[in-house]
Symmetry: C2
Subunit: 401 residues, 2 copies
Amino acid sequence: MDYSKNFYQIKSNEEIFYKVSLEKNTVGYYDLPFQDTSEFKEYAKTVTQQDIVVVGIGGSSLGTYAIHKFLQHKENMKKLHFLESTDPLDLERRISKLDLNDTLFIIISKSGTTIETVSILKYLSSITMLDKSNTICITESDSKLNTYAKTNDMKTFEIPKNVGGRFSVFTAVGLVTMAIMGLDIDRILFGCQTIYNDYFNRGDYYTSIMEKARFIVENKNRFNINVVFSYSSLLEGFNKWYVQLWGESLGKININQTKQALTPIALTGPVDQHSFLQLIMEGKRDKTITFIKVADFENELTIPDVSLPGLEELDYINNIKFKNLINEQADATIEAIQNLKDIPCDIITIEAQDEYNIGKLMYSYELLTSIVGSFVQINTYDQPGVEAGKIILKDKLKKKI
Amino acid sequence: MDYSKNFYQIKSNEEIFYKVSLEKNTVGYYDLPFQDTSEFKEYAKTVTQQDIVVVGIGGSSLGTYAIHKFLQHKENMKKLHFLESTDPLDLERRISKLDLNDTLFIIISKSGTTIETVSILKYLSSITMLDKSNTICITESDSKLNTYAKTNDMKTFEIPKNVGGRFSVFTAVGLVTMAIMGLDIDRILFGCQTIYNDYFNRGDYYTSIMEKARFIVENKNRFNINVVFSYSSLLEGFNKWYVQLWGESLGKININQTKQALTPIALTGPVDQHSFLQLIMEGKRDKTITFIKVADFENELTIPDVSLPGLEELDYINNIKFKNLINEQADATIEAIQNLKDIPCDIITIEAQDEYNIGKLMYSYELLTSIVGSFVQINTYDQPGVEAGKIILKDKLKKKI
């Protein structure tokens, strides 16, 4: 066996900390928490439409969807819609819900030539007049979508070149829409700052994120599936965003030409107790589990003190608040898993359902992804594996002309 | 090494065919395609309400959701809702959409004492009068929910004892709601019959299902993740149903006390090309991929012949129907994966979006699950692993009284 200086060995925490710190010079997402958001907020104030439509796919929509889903109850009365898939029935159904005379279209594509997004843009332009009064574009400064916007005198916001799509939620990609929906985007960024400052000053988050990343990497051949089990339907958007962030960032060939294997799975409790939990409990030990709980749902909905004939044996749930029930369900599942003693498991508790806390959660997951990527010696920020299909598609479609 | 007569060896197709045929004597789902549905259809005609609410979780709702999502465009004008989670914000938001004076509640629980379902039932009973005019129950004949229904003179439908929740979509659990929504439930069952007859007469489906099951089992240690990649948003419900069916049926300790490992993942195209595809292409070869395509979407939505300034290079997509675009996207992704030559991959094509075809698809997946379960020598139909958490929860809640 020849010696290779890249021969895989897990680096020390010190080396990884240093490597990730250096990345700040070239990878744009790290410093986003400290940006000036006044342009987004000023623009948001001018929006009068009631239907807000994000036209974008993958990194252009998932982060916004995650925050929206989590904070929906705090948003203003505007309605947020997503046009993403080329599925014609899905597309038609979603468009039918819009009042086209009272809609703002936010066209988002980093490259500016995403085929799904441009297809939908073309279709929209045939059913309504798209102009500067109802359309804005969020894209790279020199993209073809930017040319389209400038030609039509439409407002544009820039996606920095050094921020990848799946790390772009804290650029204009997410923040413009969130500001329009009435959320406090500075509080979102303040949540990110908290994590940033703590991590780079080596506080408690540094310790816990580094420890988690190291565990995942050291055991990646044994536990190659990383499950996030969120005990709230409000985290369904976060779940999808996590799957993209993890899968597309870490599913790579590393510096030694080794295919990496960490596979994300996202579950929602208590529903998936009735679906996936059996496999966790009795299946092969190939999964780590991260439970995410919401400490307080700010909702007092309570199971009433009602005894139903025949179902009296369930009277012990009377007078329990649903928010406590769901958390007890989470705790019971966690305890059952911990009792097995051979399934790695950690718990993240979100203190409140607000902008600050979703910013914290998402930024800490971005950092965790970067650190794991650094440990396994890959480029965390590209996605070369999806190009082959795009080239084949283009050839297929061009042959049809 | 001592000899054990159960020492794991993959049985012959003949042995498995025989074993599965024997199961028909004790496992109830096999013969469901041939049941008499007149009671469901007669009842459905009497329903006058416009909001139809399924109260149930896991196997009590996922199958209905799968069919509904796939055939939504064929249903009558009634609106179908699902109350499933104990998440209070989610629950409140869903209930707020109902016209309580024009709602039919369908309470579904096989055991009759599912804690989520009874919690929601209790809550509903405190905000509206539940009686025989607006509530029916679907449960086992001797359950406590059945007692509740009888005491209140409510209509009930029975879930046979020998049909497990995740195999119950073709009992009253799925069929009553589908009949109310105006779907042709006999055509659904006819789709199931087609698969049944072909399989048990050893036709083409027998060959392909058996071959697929054998491949999965023979390679289960190498390819332990089974991805379904559905190219239509209409299959998102099917995807969730598949994850439950596969995970909860096959995530078991087998006859030799070996923890089985097959893990389901469900993706939707083209959206997940922008999320999970990178990991499939460049990650470790631990996944099989089954693509599901819809041959004809019965929709003519077309990308218009519009040239957008700046985006002229994408004019090659003009005049393409969206239904063709999404299928070309599927084909391009399939080709890119097949070119790699080391990712096991098969394709299921659904001929049309109708009752017959969703019946075929779902029944064939039930059969496939049974066959794989038989190969790996587990009990496919129980779920002992979820009991521990339930007991802990009950203890926690009872202590609070």
